[in-house]
């Protein structure tokens, strides 16, 4: 046997070994280094709800990959509060009862991932749901017998026709439909509740934060857009955001605003604009979005000042121009041709009272009343999917329930930013009224 041949073979084996070791080392380093990309470990692309944080494996898997409970806790940590607020129609507690053991064999609804499988985007039938849309029939197959009005309806229309949702039925339950039957399509005084941030000025801690401490460096001057803005009006000192002369920061950290705007920041971090920051990743940029964005905006980083500006804090700009500066999909672009936009223009010209106009923020960042405070919800993703989540906090501020259900159930109308009338009528309210008539005036003691 020639001497050189085993040597070549050994060399190949050596190269293979070295290559394997190098690959193992690279993978190991990637795994252990928090700042390194984890893309090599992704078993598949993530859904639109999670793709921004897909490289932060620990966001969902924590420290290990062997526990269903760990995954479930991760889901609940981010989504649990919203589900509770929505009075989740199918909470886990409905399925832990042993009498439902046979149902769990079909769909183990104790765990979010039974219906929302990740890393398998080809299974996504919308909203991150990876089960066929006829899943309701597993438990509610008798509905056709109980409700003659439901006979003949297809199994996959329960949650796709604007009538029911698995989790959030706040605007769709029967008594609510009855309570809001016969409402006109537009209320007599369609107007938003005014924000009242200034009312927080009675909070001594907040006032102390606003006043800051110390003095700014001598070479710093008042910025160009300062006069007349909301912070100037409220008496916010330069040092409140930038620190005093000894600790001055030219560009405060993205979350500096949270010192005073805690609730707004909390919502921002829960939404798609802020969720990367919440996971201690770099800020979101439009280039990372799965939606159509303006190319020139691709690398803008999303923090508070991206929309509000660093010193002008212009809420009018933040309500429309900032959104349309990045978003370039049909719904966004059609806004400028919509009646909602015409109302906004009229309000800005002073032809209509404040609160009459409808901006991007009016619908996607609705005003919420918390005790005496009227705050803007900064989680702009909160009511996006399913769209019926918008009915109560958004549409019904100005429109009747029946019109809102019809409008949101018409995907073409949504795409056209509500120019025109709904193509189809969803008979939810009619069915509730008919059924109520059949009660022949029976009313409980309450």
């Amino acid at each position: 046997m020639p001497v050189g041949k085993p040597g070549i073979k050994t060399l190949w084996w050596g190269l293979w070994l070295l290559g394997s070791l190098a690959l193992a080392a690279w993978l190991g380093m990637s795994l252990l280094d928090n700042d390194a990309s984890k893309s090599a470990f992704l078993p598949g692309a993530m859904t639109h709800g999670h793709h921004q944080i897909e490289l932060q494996c620990s966001a969902c898997h924590d420290e290990g990959f062997n526990s269903q409970e760990v995954l479930q806790n991760a889901c609940v940590n981010c989504h649990g509060e919203q589900l509770a607020d929505a009075r989740d129609s199918h909470p886990k507690s409905k399925f832990t009862d042993p009498r439902n053991a046979n149902r769990l064999a079909n769909v183990d609804a104790r765990y979010c991932v039974s219906c929302h499988v990740e890393h398998r985007p080809e299974l996504d039938v919308g909203m991150g749901v990876t089960l066929p849309m006829d899943m309701c029939v597993h438990c509610h197959q008798d509905i056709g017998e109980e409700r003659p009005s439901h006979q003949g309806m297809a199994f996959d229309t329960c949650a796709s026709a604007g009538c029911h949702n698995f989790h959030d039925n706040l605007a769709l339950y029967e008594d609510f439909l009855l309570a809001h039957a016969d409402e006109p399509w537009l209320s007599e005084r369609p107007r938003l509740t005014p924000r009242n941030l200034a009312s927080r000025m009675s909070d001594a801690d907040l006032v102390a934060l606003i006043q800051g401490s110390g003095t700014p460096p001598a070479d710093k001057t008042v910025p160009e857009h300062w006069d007349g803005n909301a912070h100037a009006e409220a008496g916010v000192a330069c040092t409140a955001c930038h620190g005093d002369a000894d600790q001055w920061v030219d560009k405060p950290a993205p979350l500096q605003c949270a010192q005073c705007h805690e609730q707004e920041n909390e919502g921002f971090l829960q939404g798609r604009h802020g969720m990367r920051l919440a996971m201690e990743l770099s800020p979101m940029t439009p280039s990372q979005s799965v939606l159509n964005m303006h190319v020139e905006a691709s690398h803008r980083e999303l923090t508070c000042i991206s929309c509000h500006g660093a010193h002008d804090f212009d809420t009018q700009k933040a309500a429309v121009d900032s959104c349309l500066g990045c978003h370039n999909d049909e719904h966004s672009n059609e806004y400028l041709r919509s009646s909602h936009h015409r109302l906004w223009q009229a309000e800005k010209r002073g032809e209509l009272p404040p609160g009459s106009g409808v901006t991007c923020a009016t619908c996607h960042m609705p005003r919420e009343t918390h005790g005496d405070d009227v705050l803007v919800q900064h989680n702009q993703s909160l009511t996006l999917r399913p769209v019926e989540k918008m009915i109560r906090p958004v549409c019904m501020q100005c429109h009747g329930l029946e019109f809102a259900i019809d409008a949101l159930a018409d995907p073409h109308l949504v795409e056209k930013n509500f120019q025109g009338k709904p193509e189809h009528h969803v008979p939810s309210v009619d069915m509730a009224v008919e059924r109520d008539k059949a009660r022949e005036g029976k009313r409980g003691p309450y």
């Binding site: 832990t96 609510f176 029976k442 003691p445 309450y446």
Partner: protein, 193 residues
């Protein structure tokens, strides 16, 4: 599971005591009888529910000071308050969040929500038994999934006039002639063996 845990703990304690040579006479392993366990749980549940019905809803509701509005959709009403049956269910759901050592539910042969009709054979038998035998409870064991359960069914009685009136007039109620004192349904308590 609860039963076997109790047995295991008792056995372990006995073993440790004998190993210590304390000179005590070994005692037979003792665990709580499942019926005593479920009876005790029901006693607490029933007392709380009756108290809520009479002391809160009765005193502050429309029949009393009229300062709260008991309603199925109480969260959407100003001064709304959960109905006694809902309060009971909230308790069951809260327990399910923290323990799998027992579970309980409110069921009826005439449920307002059809999901609360009896499903298992033992539930059907038990609910019929407590209706046919007023004042008596029903006990049995059943296998659900891969677990065997000790299951007890207790009568749920209309303790106040509004209980019967509300059920009789609810649009989803299949029975409309309940009277005060009637068995309207049953509390089903399950303990994994």
């Amino acid at each position: 599971m609860q039963y076997s845990r109790t047995l295991f703990a008792t056995a372990l304690a006995t073993l440790l005591l004998s190993a210590c040579g304390g000179g005590q006479e070994s005692k037979p392993a003792v665990g709580i009888d499942p019926q005593v366990y479920t009876d005790s749980l029901f006693a607490v549940m029933n007392a709380d529910r009756t108290n809520y019905t009479k002391m809160i809803i009765g005193r502050l509701g429309p029949a009393g000071a009229d300062s709260i509005k008991p309603h199925e959709y109480w969260e959407d009403l100003e001064n709304g308050a959960p109905l006694p049956a809902q309060m009971f269910r909230y308790g069951a759901e809260a327990v399910a969040e923290v323990s799998s050592d027992f579970s309980y539910s409110l069921q009826s042969l005439w449920p307002i929500n059809s999901q609360n009709a009896p499903k298992t054979e033992l539930e059907k038998e038990g609910l019929q038994y407590i209706v046919d035998n007023p004042g008596k409870n029903f006990y049995g064991t059943e296998a659900l999934g891969d677990t065997t359960y000790y299951t007890a069914v207790y009568p749920d009685v209309a303790v106040a006039a509004p209980c019967a009136a509300c059920h009789n007039n609810h649009k989803d109620s299949p029975k409309t002639d309940f009277e005060l004192g009637d068995v309207m349904g049953g509390v089903v308590i399950r303990v994994p063996m």
